[in-house]
Symmetry: C2
């Protein structure tokens, strides 16, 4: 069996050697995802989908607690509706899939598969909204969307993905802006508390904002390879769409006015973030809050000692009310094989139980995040393990935060940015004049982009670090997924 053990570790390309191959190895060998017959589409397998379910549960509860309700809009949008908001169609037209035939007949108008639902939702809001009494509209939908992307990678950028998209209407500009920020904060908490991913929250530049938005807020996370990933966005849409779609209500004076509008979303891309922030050369490392299996029990030398298996089963039963536990009692594989398998699958805790442990009425507990081993009395485990999971969850966030900090640096010129990026990726801080010219220059020369203008501004000088003009913002710059 020692060959098999070896085989496992060999299966994953080390991340230092080729990060993209490491990622592909991890997601496919852990059976999180597979490639679909149509290029760019993915199949989310149970081990990956379970993580999405925990994300959905958490976020759905948060949204309901803040007064949002779910609903469902159709998959297909008539071309004429998509064309109503000029910037929107310009942004999305190149990447939509078109349905031209239904039930063997050619359609009189092409229908696009929603790349996002502003157009269809606005057409319905225009029909529903009557009075200021009806506002705010605080609606959200969980659904699939399709964007015909050229370069795809499972979870990170796929032709179809799952997401939630919130679409709200408000009487006041300030109220809508507050909603946009409230949601971004819910996303930040989701990233930090559930996924153990530290994020930078801020505003997108004019160039990078959503097609049709007045302003886009974002949370950005730093991956293991030093590239940034946009993990969630919240858009303040002003009255662009409500004017284009003629959404209006009678205000208290009886005048017809357009409400203010927001939209916001997070996607299955978050699963990719979890993998790339926490994973290591042994495979996945899953934060306990979203691990489908939080602890795996592996009986040792059970074939020679049936009492071990009995004790393992009792332990599983005792732990089940307290955590998501799995007993791997498959007699066809050795303990070593199982150690590697569950390590690769990122299970936070491995509980080893052999004849020696049994004698001592204890188990050997191995943490996936630190690989540290401790001995624990069987009797104490139901109380101690949930606490240990909390500790792991916190440790993973701290570890990721430290890694981000050590990969964050200030650059005072384009040359310095180029030098830093040639050494390896990371998050660069710099002052920026706010002009498109500098933004384009950075992109052209380095391939990196302005990720955001963070809410937490630092003063790194008075002048733009890329031209002669005065600085308007401190920004984060990075290569990105």
């Amino acid at each position: 069996m020692s060959n098999k053990k070896q085989a496992f570790v060999k299966e994953i390309t080390p991340m230092e050697e080729d990060f993209a191959r490491w990622y592909t190895d991890v997601i496919t060998k852990t059976e999180m995802v597979d490639y679909a017959p149509v290029k760019g589409f993915m199949v989310i397998r149970p081990y990956g989908y379970a993580i999405w379910e925990y994300i959905v549960q958490h976020l759905d509860r948060q949204l309901k607690e803040t007064g949002h309700q779910n609903l469902y809009f159709p998959l297909l949008i008539p071309e004429s509706l998509l064309n109503k908001e000029a910037e929107h169609i310009e942004g999305f037209a190149p990447e939509v899939a078109w349905v031209t035939h239904g039930g063997n007949k050619e359609l009189s108008e092409r229908l696009c598969i929603r790349p996002t639902s502003e157009a269809i939702i606005c057409s319905m809001y225009a029909k529903w909204l009557k009075s200021y009494r009806d506002l705010p509209y605080l609606y959200n939908q969980w659904c699939n969307v399709v964007r015909w992307e050229k370069t795809t990678r499972p979870f990170l950028r796929t032709a179809e993905f799952l997401w939630q998209e919130g679409h709200t209407l408000h009487v006041g500009r300030g109220e809508a802006e507050a909603e946009t920020r409230l949601i971004l904060d819910i996303y930040r908490q989701l990233a930090e508390q559930l996924l153990a991913i530290p994020v930078v929250a801020g505003q997108k530049s004019e160039k990078e904002k959503f097609a049709g938005a007045e302003c886009t807020y974002t949370i950005e996370a730093l991956m293991h390879d030093g590239k940034a990933l946009q993990a969630g966005t919240s858009h303040f849409l002003g009255q662009h769409f409500t004017e284009a779609f003629n959404i209006c209500y009678s205000n208290i004076d009886g005048d017809l006015v357009n409400p203010y509008h927001t939209s916001w979303g997070v996607t299955t891309r978050l699963i990719g973030a979890v993998i790339m922030v926490h994973g290591d050369n042994r495979g996945l490392v899953l934060p306990p809050a979203i691990a489908p299996v939080q602890a795996v029990i592996i009986p040792i030398a059970a074939h020679k000692n049936p009492a071990v298996l009995t004790a393992a089963r009792e332990l599983e039963k005792a732990l089940r009310p307290h955590l998501r536990v799995k007993l791997d009692d498959d007699s066809g594989f050795s303990p070593g094989y199982k150690f590697n398998k569950w390590e690769m699958k990122g299970v936070p805790l491995r509980l080893e139980l052999g004849p020696r442990d049994l004698k001592k009425k204890s188990i050997t507990v191995c943490r996936r995040d630190t690989l540290a081993k401790i001995e624990l009395g069987i009797e104490e485990s139901a109380a101690a393990l949930p606490q240990l999971l909390t500790k792991i969850q916190n440790n993973m966030l701290n570890k990721a935060l430290k890694r981000r900090e050590s990969n964050t640096y200030t650059v005072s010129s384009l040359t310095e940015l180029q030098e830093k990026l040639s050494d390896g990726n990371g998050l660069a801080k710099a002052m920026w004049c706010g002009c498109r010219d500098c933004e384009d220059l950075i992109k052209d020369r380095t391939g990196a982009t302005i990720r955001c203008i963070p809410f937490d501004q630092e003063n790194l000088g008075n002048g733009c670090h890329f031209c002669e003009k005065p600085a308007r913002h401190m920004v984060y710059i990075a290569k990105a997924y």
Copy 2:
């Protein structure tokens, strides 16, 4: 305000006058659903979607408790894959939507939007399955599907609907058949316990079975207008698809064999069933288990007596941990208007609280299912109301069961079936030889169809009631949605 009161009731067409219009009035005026810009598509509004969420929660828990896991397959299926199973393509080809262009380019192969996912799922199962050790596959997905139906009605038959589709693989035929029956039983419980809808469980005829199935099981419910509705189906697919898609595994002897296969689903159609089984001329009547609001508190003469509003708020707070309660304290509408509104929306309990009630420290409770009123001490309400909701839930199931029984009759000939159906719809019982000729004859002459061969067979005679041949089954016959 008395005019407004009247207006409400007038808004809904009486069901005896025009059942289809009654249905449309109820679903649109209660804001459950709306018509989308594309013909045949629907928008599920929050009040309708919340019901779907309760159904999903209940069923998802049941499926997980019986060992099923969720995953997600892509929306689009290449034409060549759909064509692999002959009966399947014949059944679905006429009603699929085709994507021909992606990102401004014509595709080299047309892609269909999934009408159901057997084809895409089988292509992946063929890739994944290796050994008998991997079986059973007990997988389910929650998603949207599209079928280009000619005649549509919201919830009942729509071009796009939401559903779950389970797809399982098993070593043995018997095990797969048991799975098919297990799922049908879970569906039966869902209908009866959650939706308070009594159903007949049985097998579909050869003619009515799923395209590609060896055998289809169904639950059938009787609507208020005496028409039947297929509420859920579970298919035993044998090895049709596993052979066509070359899904195989090495058995314990090392031979390559095809596993047995099942698929099963329920859809947003169930919401339509709830409406048509329980509704009345005042609107919806919702079973407490799926009512988005289980009790609405309506303060009376609160503007003259501020203590009423205070007490109503306290009551809401006291009840919140025990049931889904809503206080309607909108001062812009009269109590009478609110009574009608919430009655139309089918809220199981209306709690009236006025100055007189307050003096007696009681509330007036009005049941939506019976319209009966009782007086209840405010102090007792937190304990008493959940019990009352259970009572309502049970009463609704019994009431629906009685209605079905009184609309079920035996017919001994085609003429008798024709006579019965000309008097009004209902569920006819008869003996059937099992031949397609009689089945077609029934359909041609009456428009009714054999709904199922129920598991609970009764012996109504030895000969077929429609020809000279011996009878093989007792069947239920009805006009259907």
